[in-house]
Symmetry: C2
Subunit: 270 residues, 2 copies
């Protein structure tokens, strides 16, 4: 089953557009886990076990594992999700982007080494840099469009032919790159107006929406501006506000409460 | 000593603008190395020993190591260069790009974990995504500008305010991001006209120039259009044409010949 289909079924089954992001910071881990030999795996396993019936996917961010030389923990975490909760897909948040032969190696990294179901990519290098990912029809290809950070507009807002760069990216992905129906776009929850603009351009294409929780995006404005006519088409990612909702031995229960609250808040506005 | 200073001294000492890129493909390795337990390290060690007096830097491409789960080989290779040839800096070709907290983790990956002297980055997310790298004054920050691939123009050529996006990137990096003098730009050898345009915008800022060798960029046009008034300001990267110049036990000697030929060809046009 393709990533997009699995994602949609998980959204229906769990009545949830929530994606829990894994941005592990050891300094924020509960004391009892900090000295565990595979703290990263144990931490995420507990989060997954506490939230798997409340989410539509998980999204590990690879830099947080790479900075700790913890590729093996990332692999174990993804394997655990696939084996224990096979209906919940995994997005590898890597924001890769390189030319043809190297892009192929990055596709192998994401899809074969880590067995991710989808990967985030940077569109700056153009179509041929994305082709090796697009060709993996069963996998999700998630292109940066309007990112959630303050500096997003530095280049993404440059106006060309009457519209900003991020809208050119949206239009190009929707009209040219999405032949296999496996594309999504990243649009930050911090930019509700831009969410509406991109939605108008791309029809039903799903968005990956970071920026709620710690980054302060408003849930109501984000859902109302970003959803499709069916109240769908959003994968809303929260990391720190869920992972570190609690800091004691009950961190997983606190993460469950935070996930539940976000899921229900989102669903009110769909 | 900062990356840029080390680079310039290596260019002078070795009379060379050549950077050897490491894009390891096991299928192209000489037979006698293919089954070595750390073939990646042994291969690059031999290439380094054969070329260290002919280059100004090395540039391992991280995807080629990651796809083979060979982070340890990458680390060993970089350590070997630093320990054996301390005047030759190492660029980690990673093309990373992410928002603030994650960008910090990528900076740790490149500069602390791998001890790279410089890293390639994607500017699409804007200034704040690059800040954690810019703050490492002793390290090189190499921003994609006009890449060497065929699809480069898909977005990089979109015209805004009378000039293409890649020129906005060049101008922004030169005028705003380069406060510590540690920035460079990636401009492909395959685009001699654009090399000249970017050179006109950024003064003496050095370029990392991929696209000679296997990608077919013309050396004379590239050097003449890209160099500074002093015949300088270029780091010209070749990977496959050097790494796989020979396929037998003499592969390192063949790599030396190919490096020497490229160095001398470049120097003719400076």
């Amino acid at each position: 089953m393709s990533f997009i289909t699995t994602l949609r079924e998980a959204q229906k089954k769990n009545q949830s557009l929530v994606c829990v992001g894994f941005d592990p910071e050891l300094s924020k881990f509960p004391v009892h886990l900090k000295n565990h030999p595979d703290a990263l795996f144990e931490f995420h396993k507990a989060i997954v076990d506490a939230t798997a019936d409340l989410v539509c996917c998980y999204k590990p961010q690879i830099a947080h594992f790479a900075a700790l030389s913890s590729e093996e923990s990332l692999l174990r975490t993804i394997n655990y999700i696939h084996e224990t909760y096979p209906g919940i897909p995994v997005i590898l948040d890597a924001k890769r982007g390189d030319i043809g032969s190297t892009a192929e190696r990055y596709a192998i990294e994401a899809f074969d080494r880590y067995q991710a179901d989808a990967v985030t990519l940077n569109p700056y290098l153009g179509r041929d840099s994305i082709q090796p990912f697009l060709d993996r029809k069963d996998k999700g290809v998630i292109l940066l469009c309007r990112t959630s950070n303050k500096g997003a507009g530095d280049f993404q807002d440059l106006i060309s032919d009457g519209k900003p760069l991020y809208q050119h990216v949206a239009k190009t992905v929707a009209e040219q790159w999405n032949e296999h129906g496996n594309c999504m776009l990243v649009v930050g929850a911090t930019w509700p107006r831009q969410l509406a603009d991109v939605r108008n351009i791309v029809g039903d294409m799903p968005f990956l929406v970071p920026g709620v929780g710690a980054q302060g995006g408003d849930v109501e404005a984000m859902v109302k501006n970003g959803k499709t006519v069916n109240g769908d088409g959003l994968v809303i990612s929260s990391s720190r506000a869920i992972l570190y909702a609690g800091s004691g031995e009950d961190f997983a229960a606190a993460a469950r409460e935070a996930t539940l609250a976000l899921r229900d808040e989102i669903n009110r506005y769909r």
